[in-house]
């Protein structure tokens, strides 16, 4: 449908106002909310994600596109609920204790939301206790941890250990990422997946949920 292609195209350009107007028009035309979400908004976000992976666009373009997606999603939410459309999965996300960096985490959130995942963003400087409490409250399939500093990355192990101590480690997959993180570090702390960038993290989350 042309209107869904337009939604996708305007989203890729970060035109929030136009995306919002078109989403409203699509709703008014009786197009199913699920189709507007998947074939319009998520389609546009996935295209931007691919371009980001190929270095054709950069972080600012992704943020602007995500802002446009949020504008459209806000209109769609009540219609999705009425239609019984559920998120692909649920992720609890945060930057670990002692670390205030949030750009990488925010990108991961946007990319994951672009894949239809519901993301509970706990913010920055998040303690292991808060991650455990969030898992107990929200029952996610994935806990995603971010750290930018070598001085804070060990906190990821603290979170993994806290999930184990709370008896809920087996209920979630733990993903980790950030500038100093490596696959070997991931293995050494008992996390389930390391990804090197936000686009890979969103793909990885889908892979873990659908496995």
């Amino acid at each position: 449908m042309a209107i869904l292609e337009d939604i996708s195209a305007f989203l890729q350009k970060g035109k929030a106002k136009e995306v919002k107007e078109l989403v409203q028009q699509a709703i008014d035309q009786g197009i199913p909310a699920k189709s507007i979400l998947e074939d319009g908004l998520m389609n546009g976000m996935n295209i931007i994600g691919g371009k980001f992976k190929r270095n054709e666009v950069y972080v600012p373009e992704v943020l602007i596109a995500a802002r446009a997606m949020n504008a459209g999603t806000a209109l769609l939410k009540p219609h999705l609920a009425t239609a019984g459309v559920k998120a692909t999965g649920k992720v609890v996300l945060g930057t670990v204790k002692g670390d205030l960096h949030d750009i990488g985490k925010n990108l991961v959130r946007m990319m994951m939301e672009g894949k239809g995942l519901e993301v509970i963003d706990l913010g920055v400087d998040v303690s292991a206790e808060k991650f455990v409490a969030a898992v107990n409250e929200h029952k996610p399939q994935i806990v995603a941890l971010s750290a930018l500093l070598t001085t804070t990355m060990n906190e990821m192990k603290t979170v993994v250990d806290a999930l184990t101590a709370a008896g809920i480690r087996k209920t979630v997959k733990v993903m980790i990422g950030g500038a100093p993180i490596t696959q070997s570090f991931c293995t050494s702390i008992g996390a389930d997946m390391y990804t090197s960038d936000a686009a890979a993290a969103s793909d990885g989350a889908i892979e873990l949920i659908t496995a």
């Binding site: 972080v59 600012p60 373009e61 400087d125 490596t182 070997s184």
Partner: protein, 357 residues
């Protein structure tokens, strides 16, 4: 210092890490030392001597400037690390920042005292040169907004401050940050710094889209380079040298813009290949860096045995270019609990290994 000091240092072929954090954390009370100018000076000098360097480098802690700025504005200490502005600050508070005494910060006071100790020792014949440290105005601004990237992009799309609150806020905060960085640098200059390591780690591809710059947007010049040029004028007026550092991913245009600040040393992180940056930097500026020290903790990513090859690659390619260079770290080499020995071994390896080629 005379520029030839840095060029001659490069010509000696010395390899120098930014490693005071590593040495400091070998002590039993590093937190106490950070508040004690004399002991901090001792740690800086000890680090310089450990690596046979004349540069007494400080800790690269880029949180101090935000801390003193917000304390001056009356923000509670506990809120400072995560504090973001959502509206333009009151002009009275801006005036307070412009007139603030940065030595009210115990950490900045200790840093300045350490510089004075080293400067006095230098005047008495010691070879160590006191080097200051500061975050740059742009990078400081990015710590004050929840989302600085969107207004930067909007400004680059032609949205003026008067047309958008966030673009207006960004411009206003950048001005506040420039005042803060001027005050912090000036205090270090008065304390005896002969050069200052000015860090703009946020001036990179995360915050700026090269697509937008290619299309003619001047945001990079307006938000990064212009404030730093004004800061450079302060350095020049006080006869203090600029060591410029950015460890982010950069385009060659960004590198050339930094080089136009005419630093005595320019330091990049491992995302930049020094030999590719070299054509965009004048040979009067020493290239510094940029072994992947952030991953030195990992034997899989950076095995000890692989370090000589990394050193040789940089040395060979830069020697061929004829550009003065110093092999070093990509940032402050941070001490990491549980990995101290591994990291120090690799630092010692890169500073001492021979090049077979």
């Amino acid at each position: 210092m005379d520029r030839s000091f840095y060029l001659n240092l490069a010509a000696t072929g010395k390899r120098l890490p930014v490693a005071t954090h590593l040495v400091l954390h070998e002590k039993k009370d590093p937190e106490a030392i950070l508040l004690d100018g004399k002991r901090l000076a001792d740690a800086m000098v000890e680090t310089a001597r450990k690596f046979d360097s004349p540069l007494a480098l400080p800790i690269m802690d880029l949180t101090l400037e935000k801390d003193i700025m917000l304390r001056t504005m009356g923000i509670p200490a506990a809120d400072i690390p995560t504090y973001h502005f959502h509206a333009k600050p009151d002009p009275k508070l801006v005036a307070k920042v412009a007139a603030m005494d940065v030595l009210a910060s115990p950490r900045i006071k200790a840093n300045c005292e350490s510089l004075t100790h080293i400067a006095k020792a230098m005047a008495a014949g010691n070879k160590e040169v006191p080097i200051g440290m500061s975050i740059g105005p742009f990078s400081l601004m990015t710590k004050l907004m929840k989302d600085p990237i969107t207004p930067i992009f909007m400004a680059g799309s032609g949205v003026a401050p008067e047309d958008d609150d966030d673009v207006d806020l960004l411009a206003s905060l950048l001005d506040l940050c420039e005042k803060t960085v001027h005050a912090c640098c000036l205090a270090q200059m008065k304390a005896g710094a002969k050069a200052i390591f000015l860090c703009e780690p946020a001036a990179n591809l995360v915050y700026f889209s090269p697509n937008q710059i290619k299309d003619g947007a001047t945001v990079y010049q307006d938000f990064v380079i212009a404030p730093n040029l004004r800061l450079k004028a302060l350095f020049n007026a006080n006869k203090v040298d600029l060591i410029f550092h950015d460890c982010g991913s950069l385009t060659t245009e960004m590198i050339a813009s930094f080089a136009a600040l005419d630093p005595v040393i320019i330091s990049f992180g491992s995302p930049v290949k020094l030999w590719e940056a070299e054509p965009f930097v004048p040979k009067t500026t020493v290239l510094y860096g940029n072994l992947p020290t952030k991953k030195f903790y990992s034997d899989e990513e950076v095995p000890l045995s692989g370090i000589p090859d990394m050193v040789c690659e940089i040395e060979d390619k830069l020697k061929a270019s004829g550009h003065p260079f110093i092999i070093g770290s990509e940032c402050d080499v941070l001490s990491m609990p549980g990995y101290e020995k591994t990291i120090m071994e690799k630092v010692m390896a890169f500073t001492s290994c021979g090049c077979k080629h």
